[in-house]
Structure formats: structure tokens, C-alpha cells
Symmetry: C2
Amino acid sequence: MNRDAETRAVVLLSGGLDSATVLAMAVAAGYSCYCLSVDYGQRHAGELSAAKRVADALGATQHRVVAIDLRQFGGSALTDSDIAVPAAGGSGIPVTYVPARNTIMLSLALGWAELLAADSIHIGVNAVDYSGYPDCRPQFIEQFQRLAAVATKATTSGASVTIQAPLINWTKAEIIQRGMLLGIDYGLTTSCYDPDAAGHACNRCDACALRRQGFIDAAVSDPTLYRTR
Amino acid sequence: MNRDAETRAVVLLSGGLDSATVLAMAVAAGYSCYCLSVDYGQRHAGELSAAKRVADALGATQHRVVAIDLRQFGGSALTDSDIAVPAAGGSGIPVTYVPARNTIMLSLALGWAELLAADSIHIGVNAVDYSGYPDCRPQFIEQFQRLAAVATKATTSGASVTIQAPLINWTKAEIIQRGMLLGIDYGLTTSCYDPDAAGHACNRCDACALRRQGFIDAAVSDPTLYRTR
């Protein structure tokens, strides 16, 4: 990367722990980071304010929120208020899966990346300590990379954007440890699918379970504010 | 296809001539058609009412409009009012190209298709009489098919959705002739990128030029209402 000129990256930022780490890594690598969050009607919309806090704290160049209402499709506990968020530990892909969510988010990132002439799109997907979502797996990212190579005007003149998923093979503990080295305040982030009105995490859903265990395994103090019951 | 049970298709419907033809073909093939239009802040938003007319007239099972404002990215004559729609006949990919538009639309269709358990997504892209947009080419559709095969929960259990682009190698005249055989009233459709307030076509942009020539080549009377100057 040429560090004299501005090299741009689009970073998908959810407000969670993983994407915050990806942003910090991209900033540390010298990228000008253009962060994109998607307001898709998620139950846990507090993650959008978390995304803004994270973008500000970690030195993003820009942060944009694109609204697209996936509630009209429904079918997920995250977008349909009639479907409850399940406790962690079930089998199979949980009902918190949102159909095609990462395909949609990467598509939006691809459009913005082309307009910015960004050299890469950074996404915090992880296929180790994760909920089994199909669009977090390496084969999904590889196929999106191949799609991006033929999808845009830039590619017709030889330019191309790379999809970077640096966390894909890391454990949650490794992600947290890398973030601590980069000085991230994980208290700014939120992972819970079902926080209360005050933003306190439920300590019950899959996202809470993965996050909590990550801090334990990393031997790092967990800054998460959990609901008291 | 099992004609006893309902076999569902998601049909991307723009309000233009090509996607109307695709819908008529899918209905004729026996599909229950779930039509999806995207309100992306396009200059020619009249195409959304055209899409509704077309869906009603051709017997769609459902028609939904998803809003996503691509104007905040800008960079296209179709989404940025500061960029004029050019006359037909320039060289290269024209400024009417909207970055990643078909990737975004197919992603949304993919999400809905999964929820509907649809067997296919139908899109009216064409790489013969077209404006050179990269995301209308066969290699783009082929890659999206490969992405779809790993992107959803359904694919993890062996189901998959196919991407059907039946017009991709047809001339505009061939498309119109097929549509006439299927009884389409093309007067319901609109193609112009820059219609006036009354919805009259400019008879000047690339989309008008391709459409007009298509009716001439097909030897079919052109129902388009053009602006008088």
C-alpha cells in the first residue's frame, strides 16, 4: 500500500466487537476508513449508535448509515418482533439468522467502494466462535470476491476491490486480544441481540454467550453491562 | 417444475420493457411470481408506478417495493441530480451506470427468495442491446449464481435458488416480439431515464434509443408517449 497517498477502505461496521476490531486493524494499517452501517430494522438498533461511537473513537474518516427495511421480509428474530430471540446453545442455524444479510451489506459496500475508488472492503465475519450463519463462512467470502471482480465498472478497466475478512479464522479470544493491543475500548461496542431499553445486554442470547466466553478465554476484563435479573 | 404445487419465483421488476417480458414469461411457465422493485432514489421514479401496473396486469402474486436510498452515494446520473442524463451514442459505460445496482437488487431478491422458499430469481438483464453496464453481462450473472449457492441457510441443507436471466442474449426486437406473443401491453412500461413531469419519454437518452430501435426492428407499433419539442 502506498502510504503517501490516501488509500481508502470501506469498513462494514455493526457496532459489535468484531467489526470494531477490523476497523482498528484497518486504521493501523494506514487506510482511510469509510465506515458503513446498515439500518435494516434490527431489533437491537442500539448497535447503530454503538457503530457511531466506535467510528468516532477509532478514527474513521467517514461513517454512513444506509437504511433498508428488511422487516417487510421478516423471517428472523432480529427483524420480526413476533419471533423471540432464543437462548444460546440450540442446534442448527438459529432464528437470529437474517436471510442474505451479509450479501446485501457487501453489495452496498461494493457500490460505495466503487464510488470512492477504495481498494478494499473489510468485514468482521468469523467462522470459529459464531452462530453458524452461512454468510460468515470462508466459501461465501471467496465467492463474493469473485463476484466483485466482475460486478463493477472499475473491473472492466482492470481495477478491482478485494474483500478482506481478517478475523475469519480467529477465535473470539484472539480477536479481543488483538483489539486490546490496538487500544480498543470494547465498552463502546454492543453484541447483544436483545438488550433492554437501557442498553443492558441480556446475558442469554448466542451473541452474549460468545462475547462473554471470549473475554474469559482472552483473560481480559469484560466491560459489558449485563442486565440484572 | 411441479405444476400441482405452487412454485415460487422472485421477479425483479423495474417498470421497463425487459423485466415486464421476464415476468410474463415466468407467469406463462406456471410460476407464482413475487415481484420486487427497488426504490433507490432514482430520477425516473415513475418506473415504480409502472412496475405496479405491470405486476397487476400480468398476474403477479405479490409486488413489493423496497426502499434504499442510493442517492447518498451519488455518482450516477440516475441518483445524483447534479449529473445530467446524457444523449444516446457516447462511448464507454455511460454516467447512467449506478454502481453495484444489480448486485444490490439481486441480494435483496436472494433474501426474499430464501424466505419464500422460491426456486428461482428472474432478472431482465440483457447484454446485446444494452448500455454496457458490467452487471448486465453473462459473467456477472454466472458469478452471482455461484454466490447464491453458498450464501443462504437453504443452501446448507442442499436447496438452492437459480438465477434466471432469459433475455441475456436476445436483441431488443426479439424481446419485444416474445412479449407481444405473450400479450404484453408495452404501453404500461417505461424505459426513459429522464421523463418529463407528465411521464413522457425524452426520446434522447440511451434507454429511449434502445427501446425505440427495438420496436422498429421488431416491426411492432411503438406505444411510447414521447415528449414533443
